[in-house]
């Protein structure tokens, strides 16, 4: 038997709906489903084989492909990089940047690295206090400036400090910002130009729907995103936003945030992730 468009229509529609219900952005779901259709049309199918199963397997493989693009290991990256390694964290408001930096700092400290945190959110009420409490609890140095100061200056300062004190890693926090705010996006571009980081990590949340595509794409046009961290995965979310983000910027998801404690940071695994999506 040869599979044609009509055989595939039903199963593909069901799977597209499943992707949408898991928060995969509509254009991303459509593009992935279309690619699967192109791949399967004209393919031979054994008489007793189940078309739905064939389609699901093809989709699984397509998704693993999307999620494994340009995979890299942050631990290896840091181990091999010239010190101090500077990592800037960015994203829209409230996605979990500050908390994620605390988790990464804690993890790196446990791995034996010396970490400096740059409190680059000089705008939001209580931002420095929040980062300060985390730094204190974890036991890492915090570089901060006056409220309202220039974030690029804070990052610059932190890097100079790390160089002078022979520290391994600088983690720079930045204020949440909307990609629609031209001034704030210019500010982000400046932060990453004054002290070009070794890595820019985009932080977004698993519960975000279609907008995950918009913001990942827009941020990626302003600064070179090297990888993303998807937070709030513990929120009973299938986290389709991970697929939307990886698909639109072609860069890997590095970690998943699975809660509010320092240990709630899990290395991303494409196979595991796609499995739980299909559950």
């Amino acid at each position: 038997l040869i599979l044609d468009e009509n055989d595939l229509e039903g199963p593909l529609w069901d799977l597209e709906m499943a992707l949408l219900e898991s928060d995969v952005a509509l254009p991303v779901a459509e593009s992935i489903i279309d690619a699967v259709k192109d791949e399967l049309v004209g393919v031979h199918k054994k008489i007793r084989a189940n078309t739905s199963d064939i389609v699901e397997t093809a989709l699984r493989n397509a998704l693993i492909g999307v999620m494994s693009k340009e995979m890299f290991d942050l631990d290896d990256f840091i181990a091999n990089a010239t010190k101090p390694v500077t990592i800037v964290f960015t994203g829209v408001n409230g996605t979990g940047k500050t908390t994620t930096i605390a988790k990464v700092a804690s993890r790196l400290k446990d791995a034996g690295y010396s970490v400096v945190i740059a409190s680059g959110d000089t705008f939001r009420a209580g931002a420095t206090e929040q980062m300060e409490k985390h730094a204190e609890r974890i036991g890492v140095k915090l570089i901060k400036h006056q409220h309202g100061g220039d974030p690029a200056a804070v990052v610059y300062d932190a890097v100079q400090h790390a160089k002078a004190q022979h520290r391994d890693v600088v983690l720079a926090d930045t204020a949440g910002r909307m990609h629609t705010n031209v001034n704030l996006m210019d500010q982000l571009e400046k932060i990453c130009r004054v002290t070009p980081p070794d890595l820019v990590i985009f932080v977004d949340e698993a519960v975000a729907g279609n907008d995950a595509v918009e913001r990942a794409r827009e941020f990626n046009t302003v600064v070179p995103i090297g990888g993303s961290i998807l937070t709030k995965v513990d929120m009973d979310s299938k986290g389709g936003a991970a697929i939307s983000i990886a698909h639109i910027i072609g860069k890997p998801i590095l970690f998943l945030g699975t809660g509010q404690k320092y240990g709630d940071l899990v290395k991303f695994d494409a196979g595991w992730y796609v499995d739980q999506l299909f559950e």
């Binding site: 709906m17 949408l20 219900e21 898991s22 928060d23 952005a25 509509l26 254009p27 829209v92 408001n93 409230g94 996605t95 979990g96 705008f123 939001r124 009420a125 209580g126 931002a127 206090e129 929040q130 980062m131 300060e132 409490k133 985390h134 609890r137 909307m178 990609h179 629609t180 705010n181 949340e205 519960v207 975000a208 729907g209 279609n210 907008d211 995950a212 918009e214 913001r215 709030k232 513990d234 929120m235 009973d236 979310s237 389709g240 936003a241 509010q260």
Partner: protein, 285 residues
């Protein structure tokens, strides 16, 4: 006020005054895509499409109304039914409890609401009942101090006690707003904490604060909050980005609560009344 592709689809519906079935289907498909991309709940989108289709094909346009205008009316009417009309909070003495998921904008909105009541001539006061998030006290105190708004908080780990003592101290104020920690449906101890705060503060308004970018999760989360304490109003934040707020709509249909306000920026004055018409045209792209 409708997106280009939807406009195009609607144009094809009644060239000769009678409704073309295939054109209706094409229009429905465009509406579905627009609503799905705006994060409206998948099942709601499917139910809505079925109803719109039935009405477009079965209902006769009222006298004097063209078929095309009639169909637009139906689409609009069905969306208003899903969304409801905005209902701003009454300008009277009351206790308001802010709840929602982590990072949704509760603390910022608490300050915005306090400022709103202050401008309307009422005496607002704020209680910080978030003892989990590092810097929550500082964040809210800083916002209130900058507006000269009474603030009650403690650097202790006792949210229930803080609310009790806070309400005791702030008896002279007209509107008391309680900011709580972010929480989600699977954090059972935090849901229980929320129920306790609700029980001892007996708030007149329980506002669910939701990020405009929230996807399909909104339905289940809203249901949990509603089952737990009974949500009386929804606030959609961060509508100044590109998110359409379709997910937050599910919260409206789950809770039966109206949208009280929308957040359109990080500054205190970035709080607006919800306008159904504008929201629907944004939703339809």
């Amino acid at each position: 006020k409708l997106g280009d592709s939807l406009q195009g689809a609607i144009k094809k519906i009644a060239g000769g005054g009678r409704i073309d079935k295939r054109a209706v289907d094409e229009m429905i498909k465009e509406i579905q895509r627009a609503l799905l991309q705006s994060d409206v709940n998948v099942k709601h989108v499917m139910d809505l499409s079925t109803r719109i289709r039935e009405r477009a094909l079965d209902e006769k346009p009222p006298a004097g109304m063209g078929a095309r205008e009639h169909v637009i009316r139906i689409v609009y009417d069905e969306l208003v039914r899903l969304i409801g009309e905005g209902t701003p909070l009454a300008l009277s003495k009351q206790t308001i409890m802010m709840v929602g998921l982590q990072g949704g904008g509760k603390t910022t909105t608490t300050a915005k609401l306090a400022r709103y009541f202050q401008r309307k001539g009422l005496k607002p006061a704020v209680i910080c009942a978030d003892t989990d998030r590092p810097g929550a006290y500082d964040q809210l105190k800083m916002l209130c101090d900058s507006l000269n708004i009474a603030f009650y908080g403690e650097r202790t780990d006792d949210p229930i006690g803080i609310v009790e003592r806070g309400l005791g101290e702030l008896k002279a104020y007209d509107v008391k707003i309680i900011d709580t920690a972010g929480r989600h449906s699977l954090e059972h101890d935090l849901i229980e904490q929320m129920e306790t705060i609700h029980a001892i503060s007996k708030p007149d308004q329980k506002l669910l604060v939701l990020d405009a970018a929230i996807g399909q999760q909104a339905t289940d989360q809203a249901r949990t909050f509603h089952d737990s304490i009974g949500v009386t109003g929804v606030i959609i934040t961060k509508l100044d980005g590109t998110a359409k707020g379709g997910g937050a709509l599910s919260a409206v249909s789950e809770t039966g609560a109206p949208i009280a306000f929308i957040g359109v920026g990080e500054n205190i004055e970035d709080l607006e009344k919800f306008e159904t018409d504008r929201f629907i045209s944004q939703l339809l792209g």
